[in-house]
């Protein structure tokens, strides 16, 4: 006859099993939720600038030409010079934006942000705060980075009117600033709020991706 089993030991054994089961179930649920956060955004989104100066550049040019024609008077060379200067700027804006809305200058993936004029991708999981501002001329996206993030170097685009330009600034806080003439995705123009929502969703996805990797590394 074998000795009777200790009921308390039995109980603690079954409780431990229960605990393990509920732990595994919770883990699965957390992983499922993280995957939801990641899969909410497409694996990759490509952004171009909007066509605002492709439309307004020629109008501005015609206006400048009319102004020049009206004020043209060889006795007053100052006014003529100013008119010619405005015409030149309008022509340059028109010429520089002739391909607006076709060239992808910014790409977002579920981990990183790629911009043409930054020499390295930006880790979206290091982004702490996002602000988007557009007051009619250029859209400025400001990504405040965490203090230990490695900032890429930016290349300065020279002599571009309202061109696409990214800046990596260390002061006052580490931040990435991306300036462009509006923003469009798949040919559709995005307003400030949509850009903000998309950047925030990609940042959340990057955080979730990092969390998921940590959990999977734990086993």
């Amino acid at each position: 006859m074998d000795k009777p089993t200790d009921p308390l030991a039995d109980l603690s054994g079954s409780l431990g099993e229960d605990y393990e089961q509920s732990r595994a179930a919770q883990r699965d649920r957390v992983i499922a939720e993280l995957k939801q956060v990641i899969e909410r955004v497409p694996p990759q989104s490509e952004f171009t600038n909007s066509r605002r100066y492709k439309v307004w550049g020629p109008i501005f040019l015609v206006g400048a030409l009319i102004l020049l024609g009206v004020t043209f008077n060889l006795q007053r060379m100052g006014a003529v010079a100013a008119g010619v200067f405005i015409v030149c700027i309008a022509a340059a804006v028109t010429w520089q934006h002739r391909n607006a809305g076709t060239q992808v200058f910014m790409r977002l993936t579920r981990r990183q942000l790629f911009v043409d004029t930054l020499d390295a991708p930006v880790d979206m999981a290091e982004v702490e705060d996002i602000a988007v501002k557009d007051e009619g001329l250029v859209m400025v996206q400001t990504l405040e980075m965490s203090s230990e993030a490695a900032l890429p170097k930016h290349r300065v685009v020279k002599l571009q009117f309202f061109g696409n330009q990214a800046m990596a600034l260390k002061k006052p806080r580490p931040q990435i600033r991306i300036m462009s003439a509006g923003l469009a995705c798949n040919g559709r123009k995005l307003d400030n709020e949509e850009v903000l929502a998309m950047l925030a969703a990609y940042r959340d996805a990057a955080h979730a991706q990092r969390q998921l990797e940590l959990m999977q590394a734990d086993g």
């Binding site: 939720e33 956060v37 709020e193 949509e194 929502a197 998309m198 969703a201 959340d204």
Partner: protein, 221 residues
């Protein structure tokens, strides 16, 4: 996470879960803007009419160009005034409409077919513009944006919400939010909504942690 930390977290969740119990309707008050719009409209119309009358008055003496300019400007101003008057009429219809109805567990937009559970939102922002207060709700990843009817006349005639960026956020704008006959300032609005959202989130988290307890809490039919 050790046990003490766990217990502290649990106590925090329980404290948060005990939020406000009564539901409220967030109404819209727009008479101030109606008045401002109507005054602007009347002023524009009067100015336009005066310019057109000047054109008639100077008709015999003045040259053709001046006449065209005067009557063009006058009629343009009258048309602009009428457009602003239409806006004022739309805003007048907005007065007293329900923008949000909030219960301890759900939130219903004016143009939504069914209430949305509060835990479907993971946050909200309030933006104060020059002319309006904007409320922006961020959807949690696990839930879909509520089905909304299209906003009528750019949301001018009724405080309709619209979904932004393919359902990542929901936005609506308000002239003056009023609850229980009292107007709310920005901070009061934030505090009010935050208390409901926080409590609903805490209850949702507790229900996920202890599904059994949540079932016990449900009243028998």
């Amino acid at each position: 996470m050790d046990n003490a930390e766990r217990e502290a977290h649990l106590a925090y969740l329980q404290a948060q879960a005990d939020g406000p119990h009564d539901s409220f309707d967030l109404l819209e008050r727009s008479y101030g803007k109606v008045l401002a719009c109507a005054m602007t409209a009347l002023l524009l119309c009067a100015l336009g009419a005066w310019l057109a009358w000047l054109a008639l008055l100077f008709g015999p003496q003045a040259s053709g160009g001046v006449l065209w300019l005067l009557s063009g400007c006058g009629l343009g101003l009258v048309a602009l005034g009428l457009a602003v008057l239409v806006c004022a009429a739309a805003l007048y219809r907005r007065q007293g409409k329900r923008a949000l109805s909030v219960t301890p567990d759900t939130l219903c937009f004016a143009n939504a077919q069914a209430p949305t559970p509060l835990h479907a939102f993971d946050g909200f922002e309030v933006e104060q513009g020059y002319f309006s207060t904007r409320l922006i709700f961020t959807m949690a990843a696990s839930s879909l944006a509520p089905e909304l009817l299209p906003a009528s006349f750019k949301g001018l005639a009724s405080p309709d919400a619209i979904t932004v960026a393919g359902g990542l956020r929901v936005r609506l704008w308000l002239c003056t939010p009023v609850v229980n006959g009292r107007r709310l300032d920005l901070q009061a609005l934030v505090d009010l909504l935050y208390a409901y959202l926080q409590a609903a989130q805490a209850r949702h988290t507790l229900a996920q942690l202890f599904p059994g307890v949540a079932r016990v809490g449900v009243k028998a039919p």
